[in-house]
Amino acid sequence: MSIQSNVEVHTEWGIVSARQAGRNLAKDAGFGNVDQARIATAISELARNIYLYAEKGEIVIQYVEDTESPVSKRGIKIIAKDKGPGISNIRDVMEDGFTTSGGLGAGLPGVKRLMDEFDIHSTAGEGTEITAIKWLR
Amino acid sequence: MQPSIVEMIYTQKQDIISDWLSEINNVMPSGLAKKIPNEASDETNKKFVELIIESLELTEEAATEKLNEFAQHLIYLGWPLSYFTQGMQAFRRVLLETMSSMESISSKKVFETFYEIETWVDSIINQIADEYSGSWESTIHLQRMALKELSAPLIPVFEKVSVMPLVGTIDTERAKLIMENVLDGIIEHRSQVVLIDITGVPVVDTMVAHHLIQTAEAIRLVGAECILVGIRPEIAQTIVNLGIDLSKFRTKSSLRRGVETGLELTQRKIIKIENDDERIDSR
């Protein structure tokens, strides 16, 4: 399967359309009610981070398949990338309650808990790329 | 196996078998001896020892197949693995004794012979153990599936009051399922109070407590209240000793107490009806 959605995030509406696209793709992939909500919420958090800190960026949502593991798995992969200021203190932002925006500080650690796999690459001054995967159970 | 050893075993076959049979009765696990009637165990013993000896002249594949077949049959009948391991060990003892009592083997060859017999016996033990562990694995898999199906339905006992009885160990996978079941059940039955009964949960460690707390929080978010019931003394002890804070939640020692509290929270109570003799008489 090569179906994917790319959503530009540079307004608040980008956040809404990204999570709607994610929910639809998750539903089509066969995710249950609760996982659909988890995926949509994770996308919302990632998109909001782009909007708040990098002003613009892109959310890519795609189907993935893991054929290497003994039991082949299918799932959904979210890639959030921006060319913003980057995160110099990754350890801090992954901590519960850490916030620079006045939010709950549940954003990135929250995404990590909502999804099955989570990976973050960031270079100060160049941008951030976050990848998260949810596998079908 | 050296032909000379095989030949020796065959010429001494009757002695070996009878020695082994008396030996096996001594080492037979006592629990098993009681469970299985003598004739049945005698017959199985004979079959077993003949199979071992027979396997000497079969090709490796044929021998493996026969042994597996025999093992599977006994697994099915519920014979323990220790019957095989002790049986094989006894067989080795008998064989070595028989050999050492014979003078035909030169002392030079003794070591070699011992080694060959060891290898042969061990390979049979390994093969049977594999067969057993394979059967255990599939049993565990089946039980895991069954456990998942068992996972906790929410039972509406009164209007607005439901009970979720938890039985068995709670791992992350099950905890997720339980949470979804409870929440969906609350919406379906419009429950205001949910009693989570952990009488059947053997151990409450920090992980289990964490799952319970999360479930209670989620229950509160959808708009119901959670009461943890069935807290046995030893569970209360471990919870406090581990420093787990459950003070935010209502807890009760028994389901009955929990039901009373549940009814109280929804402005009801159970009352005893006045004993109306006339009404009973008139029926």
Partner: protein, 118 residues
């Protein structure tokens, strides 16, 4: 987009029927506080039955609304949070600890009445 706020005696009722984007949520916060001030309401029920997703930002706005309303003397009950939404919030570690909840609008109103009128 504006979320309609209904008045019922001393209470305000809100049923959120739209996907909550940030702007709508903030607008709602402002509208509700103005309405409480205007009407002198003592209780508010916000029904979230139709809301499919609450992320940390929306959760923050909702928590704030409750706190602000309390400051203005109006008690708030959130109702109808869907199981999937509740699980997602718990996963993220958002407990909304200080916020009273109820199953639906009806039970939310009952809860308010009990707490306010004894």
């Amino acid at each position: 987009m504006r979320i309609p706020i209904l008045k019922l005696h001393k209470y305000l009722l809100i049923s959120v029927q739209v996907e909550l984007d940030d702007q709508t949520a903030l607008q709602f916060q402002e509208d509700l506080l103005n309405k409480i001030h205007q009407e002198g309401s003592i209780g508010v029920v916000i029904d979230l039955t139709s809301v499919e997703m609450i992320d940390s930002y929306i959760a923050k706005v909702l928590g704030d609304v409750v706190e602000m309303s309390n400051l203005m003397g109006a008690k708030v009950v959130l109702t109808g949070i869907q199981p999937a939404v509740a699980i997602t919030l718990i996963d993220m570690g958002i407990m909304l600890n200080e916020v009273p909840t109820a199953l639906d609008l009806e039970q939310g109103l009952e809860k308010l009445q009990q707490e306010l009128e004894g």
